[in-house]
Symmetry: C2
Subunit: 271 residues, 2 copies
């Protein structure tokens, strides 16, 4: 049962869907025309007061960009990390056996972390350890960066429209997500890359790093699901879309897809 392939497929589908949603249903992310490019520029530097029409577009930009960046950054990219965990084509018996045979420091550690399969994959996937670390570190950095930009867009959007900050459960979950994610990246970098902890320091952080990384993944999914839910309800309250409109059904389906994705990762990890 190709859990890994399926999970990757679902993640890509989710990425495609959120972009399709922003572009098709929400009227785009204002990346195309000359005016819009200027607007994007203005968003960053605000060299002159914007016209009302421009302000409308900018708001649009802020508002629709947040979900796209969040979902692709914190769910899809972050999920790429689980490649190793998810490549589970290895027979169970070999894994159990493996946990009995290999006994040097790092490996016993990984075993007791329960990630037999991750370890095996780690041993079989090509590339030096250093290179794999670099890829992991860089992907997670990109995820964090997209997450920060996505946070900034929605924050600014709230400012522009004079909406309160941080009053919803979604925003609390989201803030926790970003804070923990930054923390995870920083401690990971500091311990495993530069300057790098002692051998025993690294060994004792690793299991926590993995648990926390998995938790963050699930948290990011729950946050995205709650964001989709509230966005849909906000638009329904504002009579922008109907309860059973194509868009509402599309958003609910995307939410269910994300849950399925989360389920696959949990299944893969505990098996």
């Amino acid at each position: 049962f190709p859990v890994f392939g399926l999970a990757r497929l679902l993640a890509l589908a989710a990425a495609a869907e959120i972009i399709f949603w922003a572009v098709h249903f929400r009227g785009g992310m204002a990346f195309s025309s000359e005016t819009d490019k200027l607007l994007i520029f203005n968003v960053l530097f605000e060299p002159r007061p914007l016209t009302d029409k421009e302000i409308m577009k900018v708001r649009h930009y802020f508002c629709e960009t947040h979900p796209v960046l969040m979902l692709i950054g914190l769910v899809v990219l972050n999920g790429e990390v689980y490649e190793t965990i998810l490549s589970m084509g290895v027979p169970k018996e070999r894994i159990v056996l493996h946990s009995c045979i290999i006994a040097n420091g790092d490996n016993v550690l990984m075993d007791s972390m329960v990630l037999h399969a991750a370890l095996l994959a780690y041993k079989t996937v090509p590339g030096t350890k250093k290179l794999k670390k670099l890829v992991h570190l860089a992907l997670q950095f990109l995820a964090l960066l997209l997450g920060l930009i996505g946070l900034w867009t929605v924050w600014k959007f709230h400012n522009e429209r004079e909406i309160d900050h941080l009053y919803t459960l979604h925003s609390w979950l989201g803030l926790a997500c970003i804070i923990f994610f930054s923390f995870q990246w920083t401690t990971g970098f500091y311990t495993f890359w530069y300057p790098g902890g002692s051998r025993s320091g690294r060994a004792s952080l690793l299991p926590w790093h993995v648990f926390f990384g998995l938790f963050l993944y699930v948290l990011a999914i729950a946050t995205s699901v709650s964001g989709l839910l509230e966005k849909s309800i906000f638009m329904q309250s504002a009579k922008m879309i109907g309860r059973f409109s194509t868009e509402a059904l599309f958003m609910n389906s995307l939410g269910m897809l994300l849950v399925l994705l989360g389920a696959l990762v949990i299944l893969a990890v505990v098996s």
Copy 2:
């Protein structure tokens, strides 16, 4: 680090909080006065048309009872199952060792399921296997029952107020939750209790039973979080409560508490 004790504490706090929310903020669940008892009766049998005032109360009852039953049934009671998983006071080394030494059918199975700790606990917790099974089965039945009653209350509430069914992402998640939960209970009962499958049949179902049980636990938490979020937003749109009212903050905090609870369970399971 007493993960189990902490998780149980958080679960109890969550149960207390949802009841407090329904009784204190939402004006009770209509269990106390003579009229209300009649109303509850009427809800079930409807022997005569209700007065407007009674209908108001009944609606109240439906509306506030759903979250209480759902949270206590599907999150707290369901969570009691994880006692075994969560009693993690056992040193890591002993678990690893254990996975190498014990090698009869059942145990290798549990090991390959990664639940070394669950297995150890299973061996140490008192009571016959049959009794423990009965407790597990009965608790999950109670959870399912509360879930079904909670679903019925909100469904009826929607009928009475002529609100559409199943238009939110919360309701989709919730329905999936209940269906999967019924399915899990039925297959569990049929295979492990009565009439009971063959030894190899039981052995091959068990890991799936455990994975799926864990997934359902996380799903129930995500569903509850989304329910709290939408309830709060609905009440804010209706100007019943403010964005930073005590009640809104209380509901958000309860949501965060649930996420923490979920995190503890994930941590305990993957470690």
